[in-house]
Amino acid sequence: MLIRILLCYIFGYIRVSVEGYYIEKLINICTNKKIVIWHLKRDKNVKLYFNIATQDFKQIVKIAKKLQCHVKIEKKKGLPFLLHRYHKRKIFAIVAICILAGVVGLSHFIWNVEIQEESGQELEGIYQDVVEAGLATGTLKAKIDTKGIINQVRLKRQDIAWMGIELKGTNAIVRIVKADSKPEIIDETEYCSIVSDKEGVITKINAQNGTMNVKVGDTVSHGTILINGWIEGKYTGIRYVHARGEIEAKVWHTKNIFIPYTSTETRETGNFQNFYSIKFHNFEINLPKRLSKFKIYDTIESEKKIRLFSDFYLPISVKKTTQKELEEQQKTYQAEEAKSIGKQQLEQELEAEIEDKSKIVNKYSNTYEKEDGVEIYVTYEVLETIGTNEKIVF
């Protein structure tokens, strides 16, 4: 019953009004003949409204004639009548079909490549590699071979632990987990010597295996051999070993900065202006209002892709250019003021660099006053263990 009514919505139905004396009889005849009528409403005494399927309307007219009732069509409803109403509007129909075809057609392409890196670690040039492997915007979804792309990118790059591609709508989500770079491990059985990797003065040296090459107090630079990977015996001659040992050295961390006495600082005033433009691939349409009203300003550009639904991106994007007004301010420092500012800044930078602060032995700072400013040098002396293994090549 309900399904038949629902079908009538698709195939069209008519709201009919019947006027006459034998209305109850008409209803009973309809139920006996299995003509579906619904939403019957009695208006005043002689009128009855009801819905009937279009194909049953002729029968109703016949029955009404017998019962001397007057039948009038009030409203035509349903899909066929709706289409009939629009059948003269050809352009409307064509545009509607074009839009539908366009949306269906566009949904077969990839219009956005989103790269998600695990825990916010950034991989340089990964987007370029993914595009080169074949996952570029504008490629057919059916032609994308996700496994092939993953293999190609992973072969090319060493720093990827895992990679996955998910195609969602017109959006391709590339998930990447970065691999931790591991130091080159030299096998225990291979011969190696220990080489300095920093500049400094040796404070402690202790060779467990091999021959010491430097003494305490020696200054070493990058690449100096600290422990040689051989042992020389009186009777055995030179015997190569896997050098092992602990070397501690004073390492200097130096930073310098130049602070001028007079400087111009730029500051944001808080005023900003937004410009919008529509971008389609490489083609850009500027919306009006292009000239900036500010003298000095910063421009920040952001691009947003238009999407129909959550993952249905379109190849059109809106570019937003924000111009922030800046203000120039002249600042003058006294010599002492400049020194303390520079020193503070350098100390902060150095302390961020050094991991273990308890190993800091000494702090030096030198200042050189010049005509237009001060040059400041800050040096930290830090005790560090130095040395890396280097294979002996014969």
Binding site: M1, I23, I27, C30, T31, W38, H39, R42, D43
Partner: protein, 97 residues
């Protein structure tokens, strides 16, 4: 006799009464909707009064704003403000026959 026999089986199987007999079933949902199953026909239909014939008698509905929402061969759904339901039994003799 045969009919009675069938009725016993139906009772054992707990088949609803309105399915195997012509007994009328009236369901009232709230005060504004009434469904009558196993009806025979509509005797009178006005906005304020509906008279429905069933196999065991006549059901009169009083109220206002009555609409007949669904009509099918066996059941009828009436909506509107119902104020009273009256039942007119058919004469006993007729029922027995």
């Amino acid at each position: 006799m045969k009919k009675n026999h069938f009725r016993k089986i139906d009772k054992i199987l707990e088949i609803p009464k309105e399915v195997y007999s012509n007994e009328v079933k009236i369901t009232i949902v709230g005060f504004e909707e009434i469904v009558i199953e196993n009806y025979q026909g509509i005797l009178e239909y006005e906005e304020y009064f509906v008279r429905i014939k069933t196999y065991t008698g006549i059901v009169n509905l009083n109220g206002y704003g009555f609409n007949l929402e669904n009509l099918s061969n066996d059941d009828i759904k009436v909506t509107g403000k119902i104020e009273g339901i009256e039942i007119e039994r058919l004469v006993e003799e007729e029922h027995v026959n």
